[in-house]
Symmetry: C2
Subunit: 368 residues, 2 copies
């Protein structure tokens, strides 16, 4: 079969796109990068050279051009969320397949508009990068729980600490402090965790939530850790508490997430799944199980029994030395090439996740 | 000054009253036990003999008799909560001082009725045994936070596991499984914890809560661990999640409590108080800080700094070898004899705590 021809919107000189998307796309014979669309043709040309892409790769500066290009089958969008709508709308209208990072839009309104455009454009595959569904650790937890090893699930408690949202902010992440950008602790940190904790189930009724911006002013640092702004205004929330019951057997779920580093020498994430006959405990350095950490661990304790550590089975992404951030994104590309739907998040599904976030804001009296 | 003459309602052959109330009452010259009122005169007489009380001690079987006895100044009530109303009403009507264990009543209605009787009777001192307020560890956490060592408080998260409410129930605690008795995980476990986590502040608006009885059937065991009933019906809740903001500076507070033992080798309680400049971490084998544990610990981490353990200063109760359960109850008696009000819970205050519990039930569609 001919490789899928990929056009990437937003292949920066560093950051997420090259680290997470390029490794599998460059190695897999199932994909061929045929176009890059950055903020200017010159910037796209620079990326083509930097990543040694073939000289035939098209360099665009306007999302309309990638939408018109017949040599692009799949548009990958890795720009900041507040530019998703503008950059992928033309491709959706042109009926092209799209793989866009989570969150889908900067707001529920934008996410719904993108879903509408996708449906109108008759797009066959439009997916959103909630890649925790591909993470072997999540699959292992899921299968462990479904195997009945801890009996019927009675509750799930999730406590996590984010590196972001603490006493200072790196200049390159300044936008995460502006609620209206839509890329913050609520949409990204909570959004990804919420997706994997739910195990694919929704909530019976909207969960009850508490959002607070407890550090409205933070210190802004440059990449060398030097202060560039002593008192920088932040409008996004750094404290997110939630509880609700899953539509799957009314399982009570509790979340407590705060910005800032965890207490020294304690896990950045502690996730318990308590069952009639035992408990699962997942710990990691942080909450991003959708990416993963070197030290993450699944333990199971049966009542009155010993604690066992559960080994997560590796696959070719582990064997072939992919970096952490590229593994689960790579696994999404592999699903796409195999035509698998399980473990992929469509636009409908993403809109439902946006609806919860919107509901959280409204419940807390926040206008977005 | 003449000692305060104490009448005890409910001095059982074992359990809470002899372990928690007797030690200080017997050692302190400020108190003299003059009467016992158990379910029968014979049972009171047996207790008087068992605990070697003076032969002059009155033995009663009817709460009306203790209410009428002019040689009783202070009535101590340590019977099961669903008998508080019946056993202390006569003494309140007679205007006697009362020290009754928490919860005040089996329901909000009962608690309000007791407050009304106390006011009508013109009772000078009517207090409720929420003794966490006397616990040195709580005072140490409070003074640590108030000293500003971690800066302005940004949030507090409390995660705890109860020994009760798990896969089996001891026959002697069977009543804790019946919601209508009013002595259960919501009123006792959550009630005490809620009191110390609040630090004496109320919630700005009613907190949002989730209650669930996830083990409606449990195994009942005798005191030798033998099964006496394979499938015993339980109506009280074993899963309690809450979040809200304290009236003190809008501090977001998250609680997650579930019945049953903690995951092996992890603390039964983990309480974090996160501040602008650092974090306090309190850990213990269980959640009953109002009683305490041998291994409980307060740690403080300043950002970028080392973790320090905070030593809790001992007092004469520690020096004089009181048992854990008698220390904070003893400290309440010491407050009473010194005429101190700080750290004592009055009936008004207790009714407010009952109001929250009632609100929790209503919020979760539970009739009590």
């Amino acid at each position: 079969m001919a490789p899928t021809k990929v056009g990437i919107i937003g292949l920066s000189a560093s950051g997420w796109a090259p680290a997470a998307h390029l490794p599998y796309l460059l190695r897999s014979p199932a994909y061929e990068i045929t176009a890059i669309c950055n903020s200017s043709v010159a910037s796209s040309q620079a990326a083509i050279e930097k990543y040694s892409l073939p000289s035939s790769t098209k360099a665009y500066g306007d999302p309309e051009d990638i939408a018109k290009d017949a040599s692009v089958d799949l548009v990958v969008c890795a720009v900041r969320v507040d530019r998703h709508l503008a950059t992928i709308s033309p491709s959706l209208k042109a009926g092209k397949d799209v793989f866009v990072e989570w969150p889908l839009g900067a707001s529920l309104t934008e996410a719904r508009e993108l879903l509408r455009l996708k449906n109108e454009g008759g797009v066959k595959r439009a997916i959103v990068g909630l890649q925790a569904r591909q993470a072997p650790i999540i699959k292992a937890v899921k299968s462990l729980v479904r195997s009945g090893r801890v009996g019927k699930v009675l509750s799930s408690t999730w406590t996590g600490y984010a590196v972001n949202g603490g006493e200072s902010v790196d200049q390159s992440l300044e936008h995460m402090g502006r609620r209206e950008v839509g890329a913050n602790l609520v949409s990204i940190h909570f959004g990804h965790a919420f997706d994997y904790v739910q195990f694919g189930y929704g909530f019976q009724t909207p969960p009850k939530t508490l959002l607070a911006n407890r550090r409205p002013f933070v210190k802004m640092l440059d990449h060398n850790g030097r202060t560039v702004e002593e008192v920088h205004r932040k409008t996004s929330d750094d404290t997110i508490f939630l509880h609700g019951t899953l539509s799957n057997d009314s399982i009570p779920v509790s979340f407590a997430l705060r910005g800032g580093m965890p207490f020294p020498s304690t896990p950045g994430l502690e996730w318990r799944i308590y069952g009639e006959e035992g408990e699962v405990r997942v710990t990691a350095a942080g909450i991003f199980l959708q990416i993963g950490y070197a030290d993450m661990k699944i333990q199971v304790a049966k009542f009155g029994g010993v604690v066992e550590e559960v080994q997560v089975k590796g696959d070719e992404f582990d064997a072939e030395g992919y970096g952490l951030v590229s593994k689960n994104v790579g696994r999404i590309y592999r699903c796409l090439e195999r035509g698998e739907r399980e473990g992929l998040c469509g636009f409908d599904d993403a809109v439902q996740r946006h609806e919860l976030i919107d509901e959280m804001y409204r419940e807390n009296g926040i206008e977005v």
